[in-house]
């Protein structure tokens, strides 16, 4: 992605660290439920409260989800160990975090974005989440609050931290990376990807430089971006801030910054001037995880198709079953930009299987894709359960002209909620197709009633086709098929 969102002569360099909560039944090192939103301090035990004498035992499912993420990101899955990262903080019950440090389970992968650009993945490692702190009194933020309250329900929830290479060059690309990564995490079953619930949290490392040949500039880390929009805005703001500093002859100071969504700017965190020295050492209470080839394969076999492959599948479906303009080897047309958007929507919403199966049931791919991305997508949860044969039946009626687009929408809405036979639903709504004779006489009558307009249409003013179609629709209360009306008008014009 060459696009830059910066003033000419500047390039931003961005790397993202994404913390993803894993969708396990229990926490990383204890059997407490891993659920969001329960009453405070109810999902806790000696282990996740860090009580004296308690010991961690590693959750197998968390390891396998981490391996699944690694596989999906094309990582090498390696023997790994856990370290203690020592620092004091009230939401961390042991005052150290158990995290994979110099031997992470996944290294050296990559993520291909929809635009074809590739971002390197340095590592994707397992670690435990902290508890949740609420700041009471004052503004509700950390600064100015007079005390804080800690809930340890989240303490020990399994996280995979995915660290990208500094390969990202624009805010747009940063956003695309996070969106694609979220889609991959959801597709692997590792995460629900809910940024608003904090199950996916993004930190951005941002620096700027004048030329791709320059060494990396001093970077700032923006913590805890909790929406794709915030991510893009924060990266854009921070890069511009750094460019302005440098253009004014000042220096960028390496620091951690916070994104203020309301003010639309990043702010330096007021952190105590004590050098962070995490005193990492191997966690003596845990033993190494050494996945053998058989285990790695077994996990890989559980993976479904990933978003990139699913998008490619739909693109191929369009080109082989497409509009037929013949500029691709398969004989179909390359997808239009609008269709690429539809494909992205359908894949994001998990409706791609529906599209594939509906096309297989005999409906043209462009129509299936359009209806899936636009109409079916209004209720994706129901649409994912839609019977492809019924959906194909409905779209077939549209293609043959026996139902109008408006009628299709009405039938689909009911089909989504109740299921059943689309023809029967159409009939129950009185949507039986107009007989051809009725259409011919209706059109003829309207032409006779509007001789001036008809004359202009006949003389080549094609806009009047819409005028006559509108009249027909009004006269038939929408039952007429638009395509059939247009065909009749053309026939009459001769």
């Amino acid at each position: 992605m060459a696009a830059t969102d910066l003033p000419a002569g500047w390039e931003m360099v961005v790397g993202l660290e994404v913390h993803c909560e894993l969708k396990t039944a229990t926490k990383l090192f204890c059997g407490c439920p891993n659920v969001f939103g329960d009453e405070p301090n109810t999902n806790v035990c000696p282990v996740c409260l860090g009580l004296p004498g308690s010991l961690p035992v590693l959750n197998q499912q968390a390891v396998e989800l981490a391996m699944a993420i690694g596989t999906a990101l094309g990582c090498e899955i390696r023997p790994s160990t856990f370290h203690r990262k020592n620092y004091f903080y009230p939401d961390m019950p042991k005052d150290y975090q158990i995290s994979q440090y110099d031997e992470p389970i996944n290294v050296d992968g990559h993520l291909e974005l929809p635009d074809g650009s590739v971002v390197g993945i340095v590592r994707a490692h397992l670690e435990e989440d902290t508890g949740k702190t609420t700041h009471a009194g004052g503004t509700g933020r950390i600064h100015g609050s007079d005390h804080s309250l800690v809930d340890y329900n989240r303490s020990g929830v399994p996280l995979v931290e995915i660290v990208s290479a500094p390969d990202i060059r624009s805010a747009t690309q940063a956003r695309a990376y996070a969106a694609e990564l979220r889609a991959v995490l959801v597709a692997t079953g590792a995460s629900d990807g809910r940024m608003e619930e904090g199950s996916m949290r993004v930190d951005a490392n941002v620096s700027v430089r004048r030329s791709p040949d320059d060494p990396l500039g001093t970077r700032c880390e923006i913590k805890n971006l909790n929406s794709l929009r915030s991510l893009a805005r924060a990266v854009e703001y921070e890069a511009r801030r750094q460019v302005e500093l440098l253009e004014a002859g000042e220096r960028v100071v390496q620091q951690t910054r916070h994104w203020d969504e309301d003010a639309g700017r990043t702010i330096a965190l007021r952190s105590k001037e004590e050098a962070t020295d995490y005193r990492y050492f191997l966690e003596p209470d845990l033993v190494p995880v050494v996945p053998d080839a058989q285990w790695v394969t077994a996990v890989a076999d559980t993976l479904g198709m990933l978003p990139a492959a699913r998008r490619r599948r739909l693109e191929e479906l369009l080109t082989t079953d497409g509009a037929g303009t013949g500029d691709t080897p398969g004989g179909g047309a390359a997808p239009t930009p609008a269709q690429l958007d539809q494909i992205a929507t359908v894949v994001d919403l998990g409706l791609d299987d529906l599209v594939v199966e509906t096309v297989a049931a005999g409906v043209a791919a462009p129509l299936v894709l359009a209806r899936s991305a636009n109409e079916a997508a209004t209720d994706p949860d129901l649409a994912r359960k839609l019977d492809p044969v019924a959906f194909a039946g409905l779209l077939g009626m549209e293609a043959s002209g026996s139902l109008s687009a408006t009628q299709v929408k009405a039938v689909l809405s009911e089909l989504l909620h109740t299921g059943g036979d689309p023809a029967a639903i159409a009939a129950s709504k009185g949507f039986e197709a107009m007989a051809e004779d009725d259409l011919v006489s209706t059109v003829a009558g309207l032409v006779a009633d509007h001789p001036d307009e008809w004359a202009r249409y006949r003389d080549g003013d094609d806009k009047l086709a819409g005028f006559f179609t509108g009249l027909v629709m009004k006269a038939t209360q929408g039952k007429a098929n638009g395509k059939a009306v247009a065909a009749e008008l053309r026939r009459l014009r001769g």
């Binding site: 396990t24 039944a25 229990t26 204890c30 059997g31 407490c32 009453e39 405070p40 301090n41 109810t42 999902n43 806790v44 035990c45 000696p46 409260l49 035992v57 590693l58 959750n59 197998q60 499912q61 968390a62 023997p79 620092y87 004091f88 903080y89 009230p90 939401d91 961390m92 902290t130 702190t133 609420t134 700041h135 009471a136 950390i142 609050s145 007079d146 005390h147 804080s148 309250l149 800690v150 809930d151 340890y152 913590k223 951690t256 916070h258 965190l269 007021r270 952190s271 105590k272 004590e274 962070t276 020295d277 005193r279 050492f281 191997l282 003596p284 033993v287 190494p288 995880v289 050494v290």
Partner: protein, 102 residues
């Protein structure tokens, strides 16, 4: 190598800060001397050439100790909170946190 295997008063002050301990001036002197003596004794370890010797962190070489992802009973919240020095709204109450987590 006496210069290396010793600890200065500033070092002691620094580690006390890292460890969230506060030392009086007298304690600083005392601990500097005592820790210096212990580290001086450890000079035998420092003097060894152990390049290429792998570290031993665990007494026994176990791998892949895992548990099934099955829920276990949690503690009763009352029993948890009764141990806490300060509680508010069923949460652990702490004085104002000045800085963000590092």
């Amino acid at each position: 190598m006496p210069g290396r295997y010793t600890i200065t008063r500033d070092d002691v002050a620094h580690v006390a800060e890292l460890a969230r301990l506060e030392l009086s001036e007298a304690e600083l002197d005392m601990f500097t001397e005592q820790l210096g003596a212990v580290l001086g004794h450890a000079a035998d370890v420092a003097a060894l050439d152990l390049a290429g010797v792998p570290p031993t962190s665990h007494a026994l070489a176990l791998t892949n100790v895992l548990r099934p992802d099955e829920p276990r009973p949690c503690l009763d919240r009352t029993e948890v909170l009764v141990a806490a020095p300060s509680v508010e709204d069923d949460r652990f109450r702490v004085p104002s946190i000045m800085g963000e987590a590092p």
